[in-house]
Symmetry: C2
Subunit: 198 residues, 2 copies
């Protein structure tokens, strides 16, 4: 019976539960307020709109994956090529796990995509930024070559070339047999293009 003060964090946690149970089409702000034992007016005191609340929950949820990926970026003991491959495979597996284990929150994320939400743009910018860091490490270490192409542009190309393995529109294909080999094949081709050869 939550007698503590109402904080943004408590609202986010409650909203995540409500979204998980009802999904983005059925969950209402009144449901969230009821779960917290407050009136829905109080929720609007912390989040200006329902869309803002939905975005904040999804951002938190997406950031969990971004944090995991950051560990791969920062593992400077490994070669850039290994990190680039592991990073892409981890991103694929994390997205697939989210789609499978948290279908309602995944559906919420798909709603944001349809709304051209800034949260999604930021998430993509974060990911491309991490890829850029790996590419730059590979270029500095003499492991990669990009010719006259900017690292950020190369990172975007790698991200674009792997959309089938991380863009939610393809979620239905992520459980098909052979999908891992398809990702491996694309990564082989990309790494071939990046690698410095004798």
């Amino acid at each position: 019976m939550a007698t503590e003060t109402l904080t943004a964090e408590r609202i986010l946690a409650a909203t995540e539960d409500v979204l998980r149970q009802y999904g983005p089409t059925k969950a209402t702000v009144v449901d969230v307020a009821r779960a917290l034992g407050v009136s829905h007016g109080s929720v609007y005191r912390h989040f200006r709109t329902k869309a803002a609340l939905r975005e904040a929950v999804t951002k938190r949820w997406l950031d969990r994956t971004t944090d995991e990926l950051l560990r791969i970026v920062e593992d400077t003991s490994a070669r850039a090529e290994d990190r680039l491959r592991r990073w892409n495979i981890h991103l694929f597996e994390a997205k697939r796990a989210k789609a499978g284990a948290d279908p309602q929150l995944f559906a919420t994320y798909e709603v944001l995509l349809r709304e051209n939400s800034a949260t999604v743009d930021e998430h993509i910018a974060d990911l491309v930024g991490q890829l850029t860091a790996i590419l730059e490490a590979g270029l500095d270490g003499g492991e990669f070559t990009l010719g006259s192409v900017e690292p950020a542009r190369g990172a975007r190309a790698v991200f674009d070339a792997t959309v089938r393995f991380h863009d939610p529109v393809y979620a239905a294909q992520w459980t098909l047999p052979g999908i891992e080999q398809d990702l491996d094949a694309v990564l082989d081709l990309l790494l071939c293009g990046l690698r410095v050869r004798g």
Copy 2:
């Protein structure tokens, strides 16, 4: 007032017109029959279901692009690298032109995608087949290398890596500034990986 006999071809042409005018959500089989001056029962004599009719129209429409692309595949005077690049750019521009000039037929195509239609699978198989032919030409001519990877698998990887530039789900992004450069960047990376280097 069409007094000639009713053929599948005449029905397809009329259906294309009706779809162009009303779009896939509003066009009905009765509309098609009316355009032909026959009863809708006669249309069902040539196409078992409305879905079959929709598929046949879309197949005809997609095949026009496949035919154009085939000319690039068969232009053996050009280097494989040039053909691969031109083929991908032509596919992108053809899809973008269809989305812009024929929005209603493009929407019909999107309906088939949602239905997991065999027509779409065949269209994709056709395209990957053409890519395979270009890759094989490049391998035979000593221009490309794929290591131990099968040409068909490599072709699929190239197709997967360029989905952002031909899959209708991304149609909204095709008019964004810089999209051509994004495609160029991905093609540069892929060709780098395919090319035999000194």
